[in-house]
Subunit: 246 residues, 2 copies
């Protein structure tokens, strides 16, 4: 069944109490650090966390709040910006494949290969034929790292409302601590909101590896949602610290 | 239609004269150097040449004899050996994707990602389920670099007879200049000849990007075959030296 983003809330469930969820999140984040450390030591699985969402949807904050308990030795954060000249001279997955986690590692992608069918599509830099081919290539690529390297993939669509984005972008103008994040371009991209939503819905619906739609209007619920999704999966793996090397 | 390697000659056509073909090859190799230089300067296309074949099938000699006229600045040779520890900790295409040509470049793979469904299959290090998944991943990967980066792929199966391989391996023992290439392991692998042929036939028949079956028992014909295949294709591209940068 195809998902429709407008039918999915961008806010926490009505009955959720912020105080309770903050406590739950604290426990989950502690547990995430323990599990990620075991994953690193065991070297059997690896984990790729992909954060995709509009400007102001809280990707940076999620990285800070959810992963700070992780072993740094086993953690990589890769932020994908505008491709370099060398990256542009290769297929769009070249720069991404380079950074996939090796066994034991946890890698967070802040933005990802999906930009190549999002921003590039919204601005008509590529046509739909190329979007479709790239989507098929993405599916094959994500399947590859799962079946051939035990990589767990967690893809989060950071689901923000148009109203909340306006508030977030305005805060960057008003708050001196956030002003460095302000970018006139973000307000230009905001004008293309509906086109972005269409492009995201396509990417989410055509992916063979499923997405998690993360409501982010309440930042405390965002953190809970991400931590809970990852911890629940990792608990099923029955990972163990290895014996010391002889 | 599926190919059967035993039905394809490993030798030059009967009416081919070595002297005539050596002359033809000389012209083709000169032309290859010109075309590859234009490709490099133009920076629009790129070219990946994959040489796969049994031990002693003349991969190194083909590199020397066919590509020596190429602009070194635009040429990379990558020889894939046993994966390193870091490579083993990633999916099998990770180390290969890293080396695909950027626009303008010519890259030769001496052995390739196909080893991961050849030697690994023949020795039962992986099961058929993984072979099939890897084959699908290879097809998606080869399609990706073609549609998304204008990469021309030339895959040559270096088709040698079992008898000729025996002669080549023996020469490594007898000729002091070739002795450094001798490896006891090659004689062990030779015992698995039929299993290798089966694995090659599978790879060739399941590839969506077609292979060229290159008869190599006569080394002069091998050189002609490779040069002719590549030059004929490059001539169709209508590549041009660019205007100088302003």
């Amino acid at each position: 069944m195809k998902i429709k983003l407008s039918a999915i809330p961008t806010t926490a469930p009505e009955d959720a109490s912020k105080k309770d969820y903050k406590k739950k999140t604290e426990k989950l984040v502690t547990r995430l650090g323990e599990l990620q450390n075991i994953m690193y030591a065991e070297g059997k699985y690896s984990m790729l966390v992909i954060l995709q969402g509009m400007d102001g949807s809280g990707k940076d904050g999620a990285v800070r709040n959810v992963f700070h308990t992780c072993t740094i030795a086993g953690l990589d954060l890769v932020s994908f910006k505008k491709p370099t000249e060398e990256e542009f001279a290769h297929d769009f997955l070249w720069r991404v494949h380079k950074w996939v986690p090796q066994k034991g590692m946890t890698t967070i992608f802040n933005r990802s290969h999906y930009e190549d069918i999002l921003i590039q599509r919204v601005h008509n830099w590529i046509d739909m034929d190329r979007v479709k081919k790239r989507m098929a290539a993405i599916n094959a690529f994500e399947e590859l790292i799962q079946f051939d390297n035990n990589t767990l993939i967690f893809k989060f669509y950071m689901h923000i409302s148009e109203e909340e984005q306006g508030i977030q972008l305005q805060q960057r103008l008003d708050d001196p601590a956030k002003f460095w994040k302000h970018n006139d371009g973000d307000w230009e991209e905001r004008k293309l909101w509906n086109k972005y939503i269409d492009a995201y819905e396509y990417a989410i619906n055509e992916s063979t590896t499923p997405w998690h739609i993360c409501p982010v209007d309440n930042r405390w619920y965002r953190d809970y949602f991400i931590a809970k999704t990852i911890v629940d999966k990792l608990e099923t793996l029955n990972m163990k610290l290895p014996q010391p090397a002889k």
